[in-house]
């Protein structure tokens, strides 16, 4: 199938936006959040306009329909990531909440003093701070696998750090700064061989890469809907059944109980056990529609498109004088972080915004990584299915213009 970003763009209302000066929006901040196709908006609207009942609670038709749509979304998502059962799909706020559920409900329950937690230097704050907190709460030690100069993990160091004391490896499948795709299958295999469980932060990978969680044998996987065409406020925690059974819930209250007495209560089976309170019904339904959209597109076709576009971008940006690109991993996402000598990333982003380009500037929620890169901030362009070479050309041209403005005057 030939991939036609320009045609796909028509599915995304926001990408039709033209600014006052006549320039069209070039959206290159997809690693932060993506735009939403009409199908997703339609699915959530349909829920609100037709079936806006609560789930799992009433026998009237609105509630029955809502429950049906909500559980159907769970099934779609299970199929999308290759989960053996929809019961392994817990709906969360997003990747951050998913990690916290494990850091509280599993790590705080099963870690002992002297145990170790392993993360990497390229983690997003969301996959670092919850483990700092869990380690502190349990007297465990948190260690970071170093990142090499090319933006890949130091595999030697990883093996050295992977002692029998390590109870969990929490690692991002792909870096939101460097674009590096980690060899997740191998990491999982080695961690399992060493007796450690593995949590995969799929916030950046699930939207872009073919992934089968059962084949990978991941113990936990988290991701966010808003980074994969879905609504805000919804995400997923996948886990193996025995882990969901063993874990404690973090949030308690309505919907997650079996029986309740004055002084104690028993929990429902997973996934309900982890979904306290009225869930984000519209969000789950919207994420189901997003997954449909991505599945129809085909993960392999999407990957080929992004690979080609990224190669093109690296070539074009490589030709911009005084531009330094961070991360040169051979396996990478369409995420390119860079710095223009003598111009602060914020100023770069401000000028690009004037030209209609939306990129991100800042610490990318990865302060430890940026400290190692020796910069307080970077600029980042990140691509998705609706970006094309024209977008990259405009990015390169805008960067040349910024450089001229700051260097010339």
């Amino acid at each position: 199938m030939s991939f036609e970003p320009l045609k796909l763009r028509a599915d995304f209302p926001a990408l039709g936006r033209v600014f006052d000066d006549g320039r069209r929006l070039v959206y290159l901040d997809n690693a932060a959040t993506t735009q939403k196709p009409r199908d997703v908006l339609k699915a959530t609207r349909r829920y609100y306009e037709e079936s806006a009942g609560n789930v799992h609670r009433a026998v009237h038709r609105l509630a029955a329909e809502a429950t049906g749509l909500y559980e159907e979304a769970r099934q779609k998502i299970a199929a999308f990531i290759g989960a053996p059962s929809p019961k392994q799909i817990v709906f969360t706020h997003g990747a951050t909440e998913g990690i916290n559920l494990v850091a509280h409900g599993w790590a705080r329950k099963f870690l002992n003093a002297g145990d170790e937690l392993l993360v990497t230097e390229m983690e997003h704050h969301s996959n670092l701070i919850p483990w700092q907190q869990a380690a502190r709460a349990k007297g465990a030690t948190l260690r970071l696998v170093p990142v090499l100069a090319d933006g890949t993990l130091d595999r030697e160091a990883f093996r050295r750090l992977l002692t029998p004391r390590v109870k969990l490896l929490a690692v991002t499948h792909a870096s939101n700064v460097l674009g590096t795709i980690n060899p997740i299958a191998e990491l999982i295999r080695e961690a399992h061989a060493a007796g450690a469980r593995v949590l995969v932060d799929g916030a950046q990978s699930v939207p872009h890469l073919p992934l089968n969680v059962a084949a990978l044998d991941a113990d936990f996987l988290v991701f966010s809907g808003h980074k994969m065409l879905g609504p805000t406020g919804i995400g997923v925690l996948y886990a193996k059944p025995e882990l969901l059974d063993a874990m404690d819930p973090l949030l308690t209250g309505g919907e997650m109980i079996s029986r309740v007495w004055d002084d104690h209560a028993t929990w429902a089976e997973p996934p309900q056990k982890f979904e306290a309170g009225t869930p984000h019904i519209a969000g789950a339904i919207g994420l189901g529609a997003a997954v449909d959209y991505l599945a129809k597109l085909g993960h392999d076709a999407l990957r080929q498109h992004e690979l080609a576009l990224t190669a093109y971008a690296l070539e074009k940006l490589g030709a911009v004088p005084d531009l330094k690109i961070f991360g040169r991993a051979p396996e990478r996402l369409g995420v390119v972080s860079f710095a223009l000598e003598g111009v602060h990333p914020h100023d770069v982003a401000q000028f690009l915004d004037r030209d209609g380009l939306a990129i991100r500037a800042g610490h990318m929620c990865a302060q430890p990584l940026l400290r190692r890169l020796g910069v307080p901030a970077v600029s980042r362009a990140s691509f998705y299915l609706y970006n094309d070479r024209d977008d990259v050309d405009r990015l390169a041209a805008a960067l040349l213009a910024v450089r001229k403005f700051f260097h010339a005057t």
Partner: protein, 142 residues
């Protein structure tokens, strides 16, 4: 609002050649402020002589707006009576918050930064040095 208004020549000049600027040794800085959203980082040293602030020295790692604001601020407040500094600070912050119009009389060169008020996400870049100054004054005059 044009970007050229934001990045005026005077701002770019302060960005490229920050005044009262230099490396601050360990323990020399009164405050060490960071804007965690952008990674802007600023240290400030100064002392009091009589009723004036003096010896203002700033080490700033930030965007053009932040660096220029710090530089212009340092120039504007060095050797100024504390009372005047407080007035200037309040005036500047009010302008940046969009609470009132900028007056060149009151703010001098600093009026060049008024355009930042039109870019809500950049306001912090311009005000951060002033918040650092306020923190420093609190430490100097407890």
């Amino acid at each position: 609002m044009q970007l050229d208004d934001l990045y005026q020549e005077v701002i770019l000049d302060h960005y490229r050649h920050p005044r009262c600027s230099g490396e601050l040794a360990e323990g020399e800085a009164l405050v060490d402020e960071e804007n965690p959203l952008c990674g802007d980082h600023l240290k400030l040293a100064a002392h009091i002589a009589g009723d004036k602030l003096t010896g203002v020295k700033i080490q700033c790692q930030g965007c053009a707006i932040c660096t220029a604001s710090a530089s212009m601020m340092a120039e504007a407040v060095n050797d100024l009576p504390l009372a005047d500094i407080r007035k200037k600070s309040a005036a500047f912050l009010a302008v940046l918050r969009g609470e009132r119009a900028a007056s060149e009389e009151e703010l001098g060169d600093l009026v060049a930064l008024r355009g930042v008020a039109e870019f809500p996400l950049r306001v912090k870049c311009a005000t951060m040095p002033w918040h650092a100054l306020e923190a420093a004054l609190k430490r100097l005059t407890p």
